[in-house]
C-alpha cells in the first residue's frame, strides 16, 4: 500500500507509506503530495528512517513538521503541515 488518501475535510490525514519504496521515490511522492496539501490539512510520511534531506526542504519552504518514532515497528511518522496551521 503506497498511498492512502484521507477523507479530506473529515480530518483524516493523507498518508504516504514509503517503507517499501527505494529512494528517491519517498521524497518524490512527498513533494508531489505537498503540491496538493491544503492549509490545515496534515500529510503523514511513514519511513523506516529519518528523512534529513526532506527536513531541510520543509524548513526552507514554509512547512512545519513533527517526527514521531513508533518503537514497536521501528517506524518514523513525519507529520507535515503548512507552517502556522
Amino acid at each position: 500500500m503506497a498511498e492512502q488518501a484521507g477523507d479530506g475535510a473529515a480530518g483524516a490525514p493523507r498518508v504516504i507509506d514509503a517503507r517499501d519504496m527505494v529512494p528517491p521515490e519517498p521524497m518524490e511522492r512527498t513533494l508531489e503530495a505537498l503540491d496538493f496539501l491544503e492549509r490545515g490539512e496534515e500529510l503523514q510520511l511513514w519511513l523506516n528512517r529519518e528523512p534529513f534531506p526532506l527536513y531541510r526542504i520543509l524548513n526552507t519552504n514554509g512547512y512545519a513538521y513533527r517526527t514521531e518514532y513508533i518503537e514497536d515497528d521501528g517506524r518514523f511518522i513525519v507529520h507535515i503541515r503548512h507552517a502556522g496551521h
Binding site: V22, P23, E32, L34, D35, N48, F52, I57, N61
Partner: protein, 428 residues
C-alpha cells in the same frame, strides 16, 4: 511548486563527484600495474609491486570513494553539516589524489622523497577532513548507531594514517625498527577500523533503504562497532607489551576478533537479504551479496591464519584480493551506482519540475554488465594468487572495470547535463 523548493543545504554537486570520478583512475592504474608487473604483485604481500597495488586500491580508490561519500552522507544521514564543503573538498581531493599517486611511486621506486610527499599529503588530506567535519559530526542532534559508527571510523582513519606515516618514515630510513608490528596495526586499523566501521555504519542505513530489507537488530548495530573498537584497542595494547610483541598474541587476537566481527556482519546481512520485502534482485543486491560472501571467506582465512591451520605464506595475497576487490570494491561499485544517480536526481529537482527517473541515469543493464565484469575480475585475481602468470588477465579485467566505472559515471553526468541545459528534451 516542487521545482521552486529550496535545496540550498545539499552539498554542491562537484563536492562528491570529484572524488567519484578520480577513483576509477586509481583502479585503472592498479590494473595497469598488474598487467606490467603481475608476477611480482602476487609473489608475496611484501614486494614493492604488491604494496603499490594494494595502496592504489586502498589509499587511492577506497579512500577517494569513501571520503567522497562521507561529504554526501554526513549532511544527509547524520544531519551533520560540513564546514565550507567546496573549499574543504577541493583541498582534501587534491592532497588525497597527489598523495595516493606519490605513495604508489614511493613503493615502486623505494624513494624517500616520495615517501615524505605521500605521508605529508595524505596526512594533510585526513587532518583537513577531520577538522572540517568534526564539529558537525560531534554536535549533530541525530542519534543512532550510524552516527556513532561514523565517529569511530573517523578516529580509526586518523590512527591508520598516523601508523601509515610512521611506516613511510621507516621505509624512507628516517625511523628504525618495529615495522612488522606497525604494519599489522596499520592493516587492522585501516581495514577493520576505518573501512570496516564505515562499512557497517553505512550498512545500517543503506541496506534497509536500498535493498528493502528489515532493519538490523538494534542491539547488533550498537554491539558490533563497539566490539570492533574493543578488539582494535585491546589488540594494540597487547602489541605494545613485550610478550605481545614477540609471541604473536596480538596478531592472533586481532585476527580472530576481526574474523568474528566480519563473519557476524556478513551472516546478518545475508540473512536480512533473504528476508527483503520486495524480491528485486538488482545489480546493487548482487554486489552486496558477493561482498558478503567474500567477507565470509575473509573471516575464514583470517581465523585459519590465526589458529595456525593454514600456511601463512599464501594467505596474504588471497586475503588482500578477497578483502579489497571482493568485499570493499563490490560494495563501493554497488553503492556508487545507487548514490551517483540519486545525487544527480536531487540536483536536477532544483532545476526541472519532473526530472527523469533515477534509474535512467545509469541503466540496470549497464550495472549488471559491470557486476559480471567485476565477478570475472575477482575470480581471475584469485586464480592469479595461486598461479601468478594469470595476473595479466586479472590486471586487464581490473583496468576494464575502472574504465567501465568511469564510462558509466560520465554517461550519468552527460544525461544530467542534457536535462539541465534543455529541460524539454527527453532522455534517450
Amino acid at each position: 511548486m516542487a521545482a521552486e523548493l529550496s535545496f540550498e543545504q545539499a552539498p554542491p554537486l562537484s563536492v562528491p563527484l570529484r572524488f567519484f570520478f578520480t577513483a576509477p583512475l586509481f583502479v585503472l592504474a592498479a590494473g595497469l600495474l598488474l598487467v606490467l608487473r603481475g608476477e611480482a604483485v602476487f609473489a608475496s604481500r611484501w614486494t614493492p609491486e604488491a604494496l603499490a597495488a594494494t595502496h592504489l586500491l586502498t589509499a587511492g580508490t577506497m579512500l577517494q570513494i569513501m571520503l567522497g561519500a562521507l561529504f554526501q552522507v554526513l549532511p544527509v544521514a547524520a544531519g551533520a553539516n560540513v564546514v565550507q564543503p567546496r573549499l574543504l573538498a577541493g583541498l582534501v581531493h587534491l592532497a588525497l589524489s597527489a598523495g595516493g599517486a606519490a605513495l604508489a611511486c614511493a613503493f615502486l621506486w623505494s624513494d624517500a622523497l616520495f615517501f615524505h610527499l605521500a605521508a605529508g599529503l595524505l596526512g594533510l588530506a585526513v587532518a583537513a577532513l577531520v577538522l572540517g567535519v568534526s564539529a558537525g559530526l560531534w554536535r549533530t542532534p541525530a542519534l543512532g548507531a550510524t552516527v556513532w559508527g561514523l565517529r569511530g571510523a573517523m578516529l580509526a582513519l586518523v590512527v591508520t594514517v598516523g601508523l601509515g606515516a610512521a611506516l613511510a618514515l621507516v621505509r624512507s630510513g628516517d625511523l628504525g625498527g618495529g615495522w612488522m608490528a606497525l604494519s599489522t596495526l596499520h592493516q587492522a586499523w585501516g581495514l577493520g577500523g576505518w573501512a570496516g566501521l564505515l562499512l557497517v555504519a553505512v550498512a545500517w542505513l543503506v541496506v534497509p533503504m536500498f535493498l528493502l530489507t528489515p532493519s538490523y537488530p538494534l542491539l547488533f548495530t550498537r554491539g558490533l562497532p563497539a566490539a570492533i573498537g574493543a578488539v582494535l584497542i585491546i589488540g594494540s595494547l597487547v602489541m605494545a607489551t613485550p610478550a605481545g610483541w614477540g609471541g604473536g598474541w596480538a596478531e592472533r587476537l586481532l585476527a580472530i576478533g576481526l574474523a568474528l566481527a566480519a563473519a557476524a556482519f556478513a551472516w546478518a546481512t545475508l540473512a536480512l537479504q533473504r528476508r527483503r520485502r520486495r524480491k528485486i534482485t538488482d545489480a546493487c543486491f548482487r554486489f552486496w551479496r558477493l561482498a558478503m560472501l567474500a567477507l565470509m571467506l575473509v573471516a575464514g582465512l583470517l581465523a585459519a591464519s590465526a589458529t595456525g591451520l593454514a600456511p601463512d605464506a599464501g594467505l596474504g595475497p588471497q586475503l588482500g584480493v578477497l578483502a579489497l576487490a571482493g568485499v570493499f570494491l563490490s560494495v563501493m561499485l554497488g553503492m556508487l551506482y545507487k548514490i551517483v544517480p540519486f545525487i544527480l536526481w536531487l540536483h536536477l529537482r532544483r532545476k526541472v519540475n519532473r526530472p527523469p527517473a533515477m534509474t535512467r541515469l545509469i541503466t540496470e543493464e549497464r550495472q549488471l554488465l559491470h557486476y559480471r565484469l567485476h565477478l570475472a575480475n575477482l575470480l581471475a585475481l584469485l586464480l592469479a594468487t595461486l598461479w601468478p602468470p594469470t595476473a595479466v588477465a586479472g590486471g586487464l579485467l581490473l583496468a576494464a572495470s575502472g574504465g567501465l566505472l568511469l564510462a558509466n559515471l560520465a554517461g550519468a553526468l552527460r544525461a544530467y547535463l542534457a536535462v539541465e541545459q534543455a529541460p524539454a528534451v527527453a532522455l534517450p
